[in-house]
């Protein structure tokens, strides 16, 4: 073995034709993980690693990689001792064969316990392999197996990758790791910027990687590129103009370029008459360009572009971009003008040509359900705005058949608002049309108006009920119609608005609408949908509350998130007080014993035992104050009123035999307990509450 350095820097770079920007960060992380896992599996020491990634390369640099596996010995088990020797005590053919295989003489072997008795065992000396050899063997598979959502083939070997691999640099210290991936032979060469430093060059040493690339106009570090873009955009800002913040777009352009340069261009101010969202979306979606606003937040006729190079003619590049932007905005203007020629009202029939989901009719039919649902919900919770809610629902989907939404699906609702205002609809209806999609994603705002909230509830509950009605039920991670998000949306809206309606009530209304349109509805579908939303309740509140309390409250039919939270919080608080656990035990006993007894009317005159009379008296007294507490939603008070019943309950169970021989007496007692249990159930199902101790 050679004397000298035993640890070297490892550098692996896969050079590719431009990768999709969205895949780059995750794939380079996988590359890093897999290289480190391989080193570890070979027992090679390795220091820290750094990753680099641009559209044209993903690279992993690992410091202090042990260049040589140490030699080691391993115990190899052979044939049983019983067959290892012949009658004369010489090695049998079996033993001799084993000796040849492992290269150890039989008399140097030991005896070790095997699974079925003692066996011959040889201590085999294994020569460690060099890291270069191990890596050369393993890297083709590591690189070829990197995960991408979509892969393609491009050369004869049939290798699949996100885009073609054009070079592979693989070096450990000053040694090239030789292997091939597809039709590419690894080397110590890489490439600089496609236009600013074209051609290949030899990398002097692994640790010079970042600098060597930087001097060839490649910022290999993603964070550095991103900072340069952010600084570049900030440098374009003045007191009067600001770049409209768009972190997602910054991330995208970071992975579209190797050497970002920013520049400010302009377009004719006449296009500012377009809705702000249209302008920003045109720039972002089609051109990956940033919009600019003034200090008051109004758009100005400028744009910021992140280029991938240092063009000799920046003005020319800006002219080119401006030309495309003008064409785009001209399209936008065309869509906007054309769309406004037809009132939303007059588009409803066109929705009949748009299929919603198989079995659930067209979007027009869905609209009719939403109108019915919004009306029914509003009559219950927002009686003064029934017409606004119905009008909103009627127009809510009409923008789906506009040119603009056809072009930019993400503008649905937003265009509805603009077009509604143009048609002369009220501000309330216009705003609610936009808001009825909310929350559109995790963390999105819920509707700001109550009319918006009502129609948003209708939209979501119709989606859930509809999908359950036609069997499109989410399974595992599969939730193509985003029903989980819809359910969470319903709960968040109810929690925040405190509208006096629960998710079960909403589902019932939604199923009624479907049934009225001729969709077959079964009890199983309704239970399924209800349980589906309950499961979301558990998930949503699992971080805040313990499971048993959520279950206990859900089990008694509580369906309004704010009510649910109030009860759980009251129970939680009560739980910290000394009396609660024992009271809960007493309540459980009542609920359990009376479970199968449905009657709750009892005859006071038939109560004979002083303890049952006392319980009856205490119960009657409690009932009035319990009613008051519940009607004020003072759950803490309600629970303490129930708690005060405990001594009478305990005495009752100590002194009274519920299961009396006389069926009349027995039934009357069970009815008394049932009546009590019914009142407990107005708060929670105590049988589901875990005792803390």
């Amino acid at each position: 073995m050679s004397v000298g350095e035993t640890n070297s820097q490892l550098l692996l770079e896969v050079g590719v034709e431009e990768l999709p920007p969205g895949t780059i960060s995750s794939v380079v992380k996988a590359f890093d993980d897999r290289v480190k896992a391989a080193l570890e599996s070979w027992g090679l020491q390795a220091g820290s690693s750094t990753t680099y990634a641009t559209p044209r390369r993903i690279a992993v640099q690992v410091s202090g990689v042990q260049t040589q596996q140490p030699d080691r010995s391993e115990m190899v088990l052979g044939p049983p001792v019983s067959i290892a020797y012949d009658d004369e005590g010489n090695p049998s053919p079996a033993a001799a064969g084993f000796a040849r295989k492992v290269g150890v003489e039989v008399d140097k072997m030991s005896v070790q316990p095997g699974k079925r008795g003692d066996v011959l065992a040889a201590e085999v000396h294994i020569v460690g392999q060099s890291a270069v050899t191990l890596l050369a063997d393993a890297l083709p598979e590591i690189i070829g197996g990197l995960p991408f959502p979509k892969k393609m083939r491009w050369e004869a070997s049939g290798l699949a990758f996100s885009r073609p691999i054009r070079w592979v640099l693989a070096v450990l210290g000053d040694q090239t790791i030789p292997f091939t991936v597809g039709d590419v032979q690894s080397s110590n060469q890489t490439e600089g910027h496609r236009f600013l430093a074209p051609g290949t060059f030899v990398l002097e040493s692994p640790d010079s990687y970042q600098e060597a690339l930087r001097s060839r106009y490649v910022l290999a570090d993603m964070g550095e590129r991103k900072s340069r873009i952010e600084e570049g955009l900030a440098a374009l800002e003045t007191n009067d103009i600001k770049v409209v913040p768009d972190p997602a777009l910054v991330d995208t352009v970071t992975n579209l370029v190797e050497w970002p340069e920013t520049a400010l261009g302009s377009f004719p101010s006449s296009y500012l008459a377009l809705p702000r969202e249209v302008l920003i979306t045109e720039l972002r979606q089609h051109q990956k360009i940033f919009a600019i606003e003034d200090a008051n937040g109004s758009l100005v006729p400028h744009f910021a572009v992140v280029m991938g190079t240092q063009p000799a003619d920046v003005e020319g590049v800006l002219r080119g971009n401006a030309r495309v932007i003008r064409a785009r905005l001209e399209d936008g203007q065309f869509f906007y003008d054309e769309d406004r020629k037809t009132r939303l009202e007059d588009r409803i029939d066109a929705l009949d040509k748009v299929l919603y989901l198989k079995g659930l009719g067209s979007v027009k039919e869905r609209t009719e359900r939403l109108v019915g649902l919004s009306r029914a919900i509003a009559e219950q919770v927002l009686p003064d705005s029934v017409d606004d809610c119905a009008r909103t629902a009627h127009l809510a989907k009409a923008d789906l058949v506009t040119l603009m939404v056809n072009e930019f699906a993400e503008l649905q609702g937003i265009m509805g608002r603009y077009y509604a205002l143009h048609d002369g609809e009220s501000e309330t209806v216009a705003q609610a049309i936009e808001e009825h999609y909310r929350p559109r994603f995790s963390g999105d705002a819920i509707p700001g108006s109550t009319v918006g909230a009502v129609v948003a509830l209708a939209d979501k509950v119709d989606a859930i009920a509809g999908c359950f009605a036609v069997g499109l039920i989410p399974k595992g991670s599969q939730d193509p119609y985003a029903l989980r998000r819809a359910a969470i949306g319903i709960l968040r809206i109810l929690e925040d608005t405190r509208l006096n309606i629960g998710f079960r009530g909403l589902l019932t209304m939604a199923f009624q609408q479907l049934e009225a349109q001729g969709v077959d509805i079964t009890a199983g579908m309704q239970t399924g949908a209800s349980e589906f939303v309950e499961a979301r309740v558990r998930v949503l509140y699992s971080e805040r509350y313990t499971h048993d309390l959520v279950d206990a409250v859900l089990a008694v039919g509580c369906e309004q998130p704010h009510e649910l939270m109030a009860r759980i919080e009251a129970l939680q608080l009560a739980r910290t007080e000394g009396w609660f656990d024992e009271a809960a035990v007493a309540f459980k006993r009542i609920q359990n014993i009376s479970r199968d007894h449905s009657q709750s009317a009892y005859d006071t005159d038939q109560l004979v035992d002083p303890a049952e009379k006392a319980l009856d008296t205490a119960f009657r007294q409690a009932q009035t104050s319990l009613q008051d507490a519940l009607s004020m939603s003072d759950h803490k008070l309600a629970i303490s009123i129930l708690g005060d019943l405990r001594p009478s309950v305990d005495t009752f169970f100590d002194e009274v035999l519920v299961m009396a021989d006389d069926p009349g007496v027995r039934n009357n007692r069970l009815s008394l307990l049932r009546a009590l249990a019914n009142d407990f159930s107005r708060v929670a199902d105590f049988t589901r509450i875990r005792a803390d101790k």
């Binding site: 431009e18 559209p55 590049v317």
Partner: protein, 292 residues
């Protein structure tokens, strides 16, 4: 460079790179991909390098000659190479130099684009190539055509030549492009746009076209079944164009649309299968030629 010089320069460039210069195919179609030189030649093991101009019809894109950027009839310049050369990106960039673009002056980017043609049962991965923000070219490594996995892979480069030319000539309106000295694109095509937009959107006889769609599809199937895959493919292309016309007339509902697309995909799959069989029976003559 004027419009015809751009076409001539691209033809010269790709001819020098070893492409056959073939001609437009004389059946209406939505894109150069439909030309048998791409759709059929992508299939099977035989190598194929070709370049050609393709007049392409997209009835729904008509704007009565009033939009400076949109046309219902326009030209694509198409290069296909199979197998895809390793330096194909470089070859493409040099073709831009061949039409007078100084690469160092511009911001040229390869922006992810997953290309798909549901009617042709074809998909591939690649990019839109942007020149200073303008989508100049569609660059695709085909993976499937007619629902069939390709091996070897064909790369397709589709230039939007009007756009590129507008950029080179620095004009804002496609009709102002200089086609050749003294003759503009508008002189050649403006009335086509006016008349065909009216025809496509207002006059096309939908009853006739529904009948045509049915008859052309049936003819395609009949021919495939009789082993005449090349004529069958003509009828597949025609059915596809008829569908585009019905679409422009808004005669097909959103729900039906999927079914129509599915039917055309069915035709192209049958044709593709038939073509593979045809070439196999012929013993893949082009493969032999190259390996000698």
């Amino acid at each position: 460079m004027n419009f015809q010089e751009v076409i001539l320069a691209l033809q010269k460039y790709w001819a020098d790179e070893g492409c056959l210069i073939v001609q437009p195919y004389d059946v209406e179609k939505g894109a150069g991909t439909f030309n048998p030189s791409t759709f059929l030649r992508a299939l099977g093991p035989e190598p194929w390098n070709a370049a050609y101009v393709e007049p392409s019809r997209r009835p729904t894109d008509g704007r009565y000659g009033e939009n400076p950027n949109r046309l219902q009839h326009y030209y694509q310049f198409q290069t296909v190479m199979k197998p895809a050369p390793a330096d194909i990106q470089g070859m493409y960039l040099r073709s831009l130099e061949a039409i007078g673009l100084k690469l160092e002056n511009h911001d040229i980017r390869f922006v992810e684009d997953d290309w798909e043609s549901p009617t042709l049962g074809a998909w591939g991965l690649g990019w839109e190539v942007w020149i200073d923000g303008m989508e100049a070219t569609q660059f695709t490594y085909f993976q499937q055509v007619g629902g069939i996995d390709l091996d070897p892979i064909m790369v397709e480069i589709t230039y939007g030549i009007e756009r590129i030319c507008m950029f080179l000539q620095d004009v804002e309106n496609v009709y102002d492009l200089e086609w050749s000295q003294g003759i503009s694109y508008g002189d050649v095509h403006h009335q086509d746009e006016v008349q065909f937009s009216r025809y496509n959107f207002e006059e096309a006889n939908t009853e006739l076209y529904f009948d045509l769609f049915k008859n052309l599809s049936e003819e395609c199937i009949r021919l495939v079944e009789g082993g005449l895959v090349l004529p069958a493919y003509d009828y597949c292309m025609r059915a596809s164009h008829v569908f585009n016309l019905l679409d422009a007339r808004s005669a097909i509902s959103v729900t039906e649309r999927q079914a129509y697309i599915g039917r055309i995909r069915g035709l192209s799959r049958r044709v593709a299968e038939g073509y593979i069989e045809l070439r196999t029976n012929l013993g893949h003559p082009l493969t032999k030629q190259v390996s000698v």
